[in-house]
C-alpha cells in the first residue's frame, strides 16, 4: 500500500462502517448473552439460525412477492416462534446435564440448519436488498452508505427496546429472575421454563435482525454468519459473557477496532497487515484484555461460596 495523505472524511467513513458492523456483532452478541444467562452455554447455532432467518426473509420477498417490511416483520415473528420451538424440542431434553452436552446439541443444530439451508435454497449466493437502499448519505465531507446508517439505527432501536423490556416490564423482570436464580424465581411464581423459552425466542429474533442486516453487506450465503458469529462470541466475551451492556459495547468496539486496523494499514502503518489477519488480531486483542481482566470488561468476577 502506498501511504496516502491523511483524510479526515475517510477516517470518519471507516468509523461509521465499523459501527455498522459492530452493531451487527452487538445484536448477535446480545443473543448469545441472553442464552448464556438462561441456559449457561454458548449457542453455536446462533449464526446459522440467523442465516436461516435471512433466507426466509429473502424467500418471502423473492419467491412470494412480499414487500420488504412485511417480510421483515414476518421473519421476526417466525424466528421468535422458531427460537421457542428450538428450546422446547431440542434444548429442554438435555438441560440440567453436563454443559458440554448442550454445547454439542447446539453444534448438531448448527450442522443441521446449515445443511437445511443448502438443501432448500442451494448453496449459491443470493442477493437480499437493503431496506435502506443503496444510496449514499453525505454529512459534511463524509460520505456513507445509507445501509450502514440504517443498520446502526436499527441496532440502537433494538437495544433500546430490549432495555425497556428488561427494565420496565413484568415479563422482563421475570426473564431476569429466571436467568439469575431459577429456583427462587419458581418459588415466587415465575414460570421458569417458559421464561427460558422466551429467552431463546428473543435471541432468535435478535439473530434474525442481525442476519437480515448482514446479508446486504456480505451477500446472502449459507455460511455468511460463520465469521460474524466468531466476532459476536469474541464481543460477548470481551464485554463479559453475562453482561448485555458489555455485549453492546464489546460489539461496537470490535467493529471499530477492525475497521481502524484496515484504515491504518492503508496508510502503511502496518505493512504486515492483511485482511485475512483481522480475525486472529481481533482475537489476540481480546486475549490480552482477558488476561488482564479475566471476566471481561463489564463482567463481575465470579465469587464462590464454599
Amino acid at each position: 500500500m502506498i501511504a496516502a495523505e491523511f483524510d479526515f472524511a475517510y477516517l470518519m467513513q471507516q468509523i461509521v462502517s465499523g459501527l455498522a458492523a459492530g452493531g451487527i456483532y452487538a445484536l448477535l452478541a446480545l443473543a448469545l448473552v441472553i442464552i448464556h444467562r438462561s441456559t449457561g452455554v454458548i449457542n453455536f447455532a446462533q449464526g446459522e439460525m440467523a442465516t436461516l432467518s435471512a433466507y426466509i426473509c429473502w424467500a418471502l420477498i423473492a419467491s412470494h412477492g412480499w414487500a420488504y417490511w412485511p417480510a421483515f416483520v414476518a421473519t421476526l415473528v417466525l424466528s421468535f416462534a422458531g427460537g421457542i420451538a428450538v428450546h422446547r424440542v431440542v434444548i429442554r431434553p438435555v438441560e440440567g446435564g453436563s454443559v458440554l452436552r448442550i454445547v454439542i446439541v447446539t453444534i448438531g443444530l448448527l450442522i443441521a440448519i446449515n445443511g437445511f439451508v443448502i438443501w432448500q435454497w442451494s448453496g449459491e449466493p443470493q442477493q437480499l436488498e437493503s431496506p435502506f437502499g443503496t444510496n449514499v448519505v453525505t454529512i459534511g465531507d463524509v460520505v456513507v452508505l445509507s445501509h450502514y446508517i440504517g443498520t446502526i439505527a436499527v441496532a440502537v432501536a433494538i437495544v433500546l427496546l430490549l432495555w425497556l423490556l428488561f427494565r420496565f416490564t413484568k415479563v422482563g423482570l421475570a426473564l431476569r429472575a429466571a436467568a439469575v436464580n431459577p429456583d427462587e424465581a419458581r418459588l415466587v411464581g415465575v414460570r421458569v421454563t417458559w421464561m427460558l423459552a422466551l429467552g431463546w425466542g428473543l435471541a432468535a429474533t435478535l439473530g434474525a435482525v442481525a442476519g437480515v442486516m448482514t446479508a446486504p453487506i456480505v451477500g446472502l450465503d449459507p455460511n455468511m454468519m460463520a465469521a460474524v458469529l466468531i466476532y459476536a462470541f469474541a464481543a460477548a466475551v470481551l464485554g463479559g459473557i453475562d453482561s448485555p451492556m458489555g455485549a453492546v459495547v464489546g460489539g461496537l468496539l470490535l467493529g471499530v477496532i477492525l475497521s481502524l486496523l484496515t484504515y491504518m494499514s492503508q496508510y502503511g502503518a502496518f505493512d504486515w497487515y492483511s485482511e485475512e489477519l483481522s480475525l486472529p488480531i481481533a482475537l489476540l486483542v481480546i486475549l490480552v484484555v482477558l488476561l488482564v481482566k479475566p471476566s471481561g470488561l463489564f463482567g463481575k468476577p465470579e465469587v464462590k461460596r464454599v
Binding site: 454439542i104 446439541v105 443444530l109 446449515n114 445443511g115 437445511f116 459473557i241 479475566p294 464454599v306
Partner: protein, 372 residues
C-alpha cells in the same frame, strides 16, 4: 462391582481390543485399513483432549491447532524446507530427511511444550473464556502458517510423498512381511494408539489423575486439599497437547501432505464431539467416539434423506412436496449428521462410556454381593 472385578473386565476388554486390532486387516480391504488408521489417530487425539476436558474440566476448542503443530513438526522434519517448496531465498536451519516414525516423538514433545506454554496464561481463564482463548489459537494458526511461509510452505503446504525413502508410501517390509502403505499405516497408528491408551490409563488412575478430577469437581476443594491448581492445570494442558501433537504427526504421515486446510477449525469441533460421544471422563468409550467422528460423515453422505422420510412427505401432498425436496439434494447429509448428533445426545447423556458404566451397574446389581 468391586474395583478389582472392574479392573479385570477392563483388562479383558483391552486385550480384546488388541486382538481385534491385530486380526482386523485380514478381513478388510486396503482402503478400509486406511480408514481404520484414521480411527486410531483420532483416538490418540481424543485421549489427550479427554484428559484436559473430561478429567480436568478445562474446555478446549482449539485442539486442532495442537494437532497442526505436531503435523507441521513431522512434515518439516521429514521434508525440510527445500527451496522448491517454500521460497528460493530461505535457507532454514532444518534440513529435513528424518524418517517418518522418528519424527513422531519430536512432534509430541514440541506440541507438549507449546501446550505447557499455553497452559500458563490459560490459568487465568476458566470456562467459556478459556474456550474462546483456545478457539482463538485454532483460528489464528492457519494465518500464522501462511505468514511463516519459508518454514511451512505457506498455503501450498508440504508434500511428504516426494520423499518415498522416508515414508512407507511404496510399501514396507517388517520382520520379513511386506505391507502396503495403508497396512503399514494401520499397524503403526494402532500400535501407537494402544500404547497411548495404556499410558493415559496409568496417568488418570494415578496421583495426577486424582488431582485432575479434584480440580474438575471443585477448584476450591482441590486447593484446600493441597492440590496445586497451577501445576496440574498446566500439566493437563501439556499432556493433552502432546497427545494431540502425536496424533497430528501421524495425521501428516497418513495424509502424506500438510497445508493450512489439513487442520481446519472444524477439526477442533469434531474432537470435542468425539469426547462427548465417547463419554467425558472415561477412556474406553473414546474408541467409539473416534469411530463416530471418522465414519459418521461418510455414513451420512451415503444416506438419502428422501429415503429416510416417509414417502408421502417427499412425493405426495403440496406441502410435503414443497417442503421436503426429493432425493439426493445437497445439504441432506449435513441434516442427517446434525440430527443424529442431537438424537445421540438425547439417548446417551453420558456418551458411550456412560452406557458401559450403566451396563456394569445393572450387571453387578443382579449378582448377589458377598459380604454386604
Amino acid at each position: 462391582m468391586s474395583p478389582r472385578t472392574q479392573r479385570t473386565i477392563g483388562f479383558v476388554a483391552f486385550a480384546g481390543l488388541v486382538a481385534l486390532v491385530v486380526v482386523l486387516p485380514s478381513f478388510v480391504s486396503d482402503f478400509k485399513a486406511q480408514q481404520y488408521a484414521y480411527v486410531a489417530i483420532y483416538l490418540i487425539a481424543l485421549l489427550g483432549l479427554n484428559i484436559l476436558t473430561g478429567y480436568t474440566g478445562q474446555i478446549s476448542l482449539g485442539h486442532g491447532a495442537f494437532m497442526a503443530i505436531g503435523g507441521y513438526t513431522t512434515a518439516i522434519l521429514m521434508a525440510g524446507n527445500e527451496p522448491s517448496l517454500a521460497c528460493s531465498a530461505c535457507d532454514g536451519p532444518i534440513g529435513g530427511g528424518l524418517k517418518d516414525v522418528w519424527t513422531l516423538p519430536i512432534a509430541a514433545v514440541v506440541a507438549g511444550l507449546v501446550g505447557l506454554a499455553f497452559g500458563l496464561p490459560a490459568l487465568r481463564l476458566s470456562g467459556l473464556y478459556l474456550a474462546l482463548a483456545t478457539f482463538a489459537v485454532a483460528v489464528a494458526f492457519p494465518s500464522a502458517v501462511k505468514r511463516f511461509e519459508g518454514f511451512t510452505g505457506g498455503g501450498q503446504g508440504i508434500n511428504l510423498s516426494e520423499e518415498p525413502e522416508l515414508t512407507g508410501v511404496s510399501g514396507v517390509t517388517i520382520l520379513g512381511k511386506s505391507l502396503t502403505f495403508y497396512e503399514w499405516l494401520y499397524y503403526l497408528s494402532w500400535s501407537i494408539a494402544l500404547v497411548a491408551f495404556a499410558v493415559a490409563w496409568l496417568v488418570v488412575r494415578g496421583r495426577a489423575g486424582r488431582a485432575f478430577r479434584a480440580v474438575r469437581d471443585s477448584e476450591t476443594a482441590a486447593v484446600s486439599s493441597g492440590v496445586s491448581l497451577a501445576r496440574y492445570k498446566t500439566l493437563a494442558f501439556g499432556i493433552s497437547a502432546a497427545y494431540a501433537g502425536l496424533a497430528g504427526g501421524l495425521f501428516a504421515i497418513a495424509n502424506t501432505f500438510v497445508n493450512p486446510d489439513t487442520f481446519p477449525i472444524a477439526l477442533s469441533i469434531f474432537l470435542l464431539i468425539g469426547i462427548v460421544v465417547g463419554g467425558l471422563g472415561g477412556l474406553s468409550g473414546l474408541v467409539f467416539g473416534a469411530i463416530f467422528i471418522a465414519f459418521l460423515p461418510q455414513w451420512a453422505q451415503g444416506q438419502d434423506l428422501g429415503a429416510l422420510l416417509p414417502n408421502f412427505l417427499v412425493q405426495g401432498g403440496d406441502i410435503g412436496g414443497w417442503f421436503f425436496k426429493g432425493t439426493g439434494a445437497p445439504g441432506g447429509p449435513a441434516i442427517v449428521y446434525g440430527v443424529v448428533l442431537i438424537l445421540l445426545m438425547f439417548v446417551l447423556p453420558n456418551g458411550v462410556g456412560g452406557l458401559f458404566r450403566r451396563a456394569g451397574q445393572v450387571i453387578s446389581r443382579r449378582r448377589p454381593s458377598r459380604g454386604g
